[in-house]
């Protein structure tokens, strides 16, 4: 069976927003790769799911509201956005708390899916 994801880059986000620049620089990376017609899948796991929350007031801590840019992903043809259901549940959240539509993925399926990518980055 051909691997549909062999030429796609997986970007795994596991950091909460603002405490580090990981989230913002990961999104910059995704948009740049998308801009260069490089297929990208995004994964949000562990504290990374917090980046997607719809209600964020980052200006109060002198941070750019980069979460608003997630809505632009579809214009860069980045439509595969996987969010770990377990990580959401663990934090008392559900998909309706998130700023953009995502695909929820179970822990077992997550590892199987990640194993299909040849190239992977973690932020």
């Amino acid at each position: 069976m051909p691997n549909l994801y062999a030429d796609t880059i997986a970007i795994v986000n596991k950091s909460a927003p603002y405490g580090s620049a990981n989230g913002q620089e990961s999104l910059d990376m995704a948009l740049a790769l998308g801009n260069f017609a490089q297929p990208v899948s995004l994964f949000f796991i562990e504290d990374g799911v917090l980046q997607l929350l719809g209600e964020q007031q980052s200006h109060k801590i002198q941070h750019k509201a980069y979460h608003k840019t997630f809505a632009a992903l579809e214009f860069y043809d980045i439509e595969e956005i996987f969010v770990c259901r377990h990580s959401l549940t663990e934090r008392g959240l559900s998909a309706s708390d998130l700023a953009i539509p995502v695909q929820l993925i179970e822990s077992a399926a997550l590892t199987t899916q990640l194993a299909t990518y040849r190239h992977l980055m973690v932020f």
Binding site: A32, L33, F36, Q38, H119, F123
Partner: protein, 129 residues
């Protein structure tokens, strides 16, 4: 023989990762694998800061990267936007922002993230440190 792209997202000195990246890169080229580029992103761009002064009894990673480029022609590319935010600036960027000083020079290159897309698409493996 495999072709690698190496992504360095960790700063020198503060963490071990960038040193591990150098050791991996050196082992790869000595083992006759190829590296089509070492791309520095996030705090990893601090590796490209030419103004680092390393104590004489400590390993000079900046010099080691430079020698890797000199001896094995491995391109050293720093993401321009991530680098500029951290004060790692080429003479051109410094002039455009009316800054007196600059801190990025050859053999490091200041490039856009698109260069990384090109590197990855022509490599077998991306390895991040």
């Amino acid at each position: 023989m495999a072709c690698f792209t190496i992504l360095v997202t960790s700063a020198p000195f503060s963490e071990q990762s960038a040193y591990s990246a150098y050791r991996f890169a050196l082992a790869a080229v000595q083992g006759h694998h190829s590296i089509n580029g070492i791309f520095f992103y996030q705090a990893g761009t601090l590796n490209a800061n030419a103004l680092q002064i390393t104590p004489s009894d400590e390993f000079n990673l900046y010099q080691a990267w430079s020698e890797l480029n000199l001896n094995f022609q491995v391109p050293l590319m720093a993401c321009v936007s991530a680098a500029n935010k951290r004060g790692v600036t080429s003479i051109l960027d410094a002039q455009e922002s009316d800054q007196i000083h600059f801190s990025l020079q050859a053999p490091f290159e200041s490039v856009g993230l698109g260069e990384l897309a090109t590197l990855i698409s022509s490599s077998d493996r991306l390895v991040q440190f």
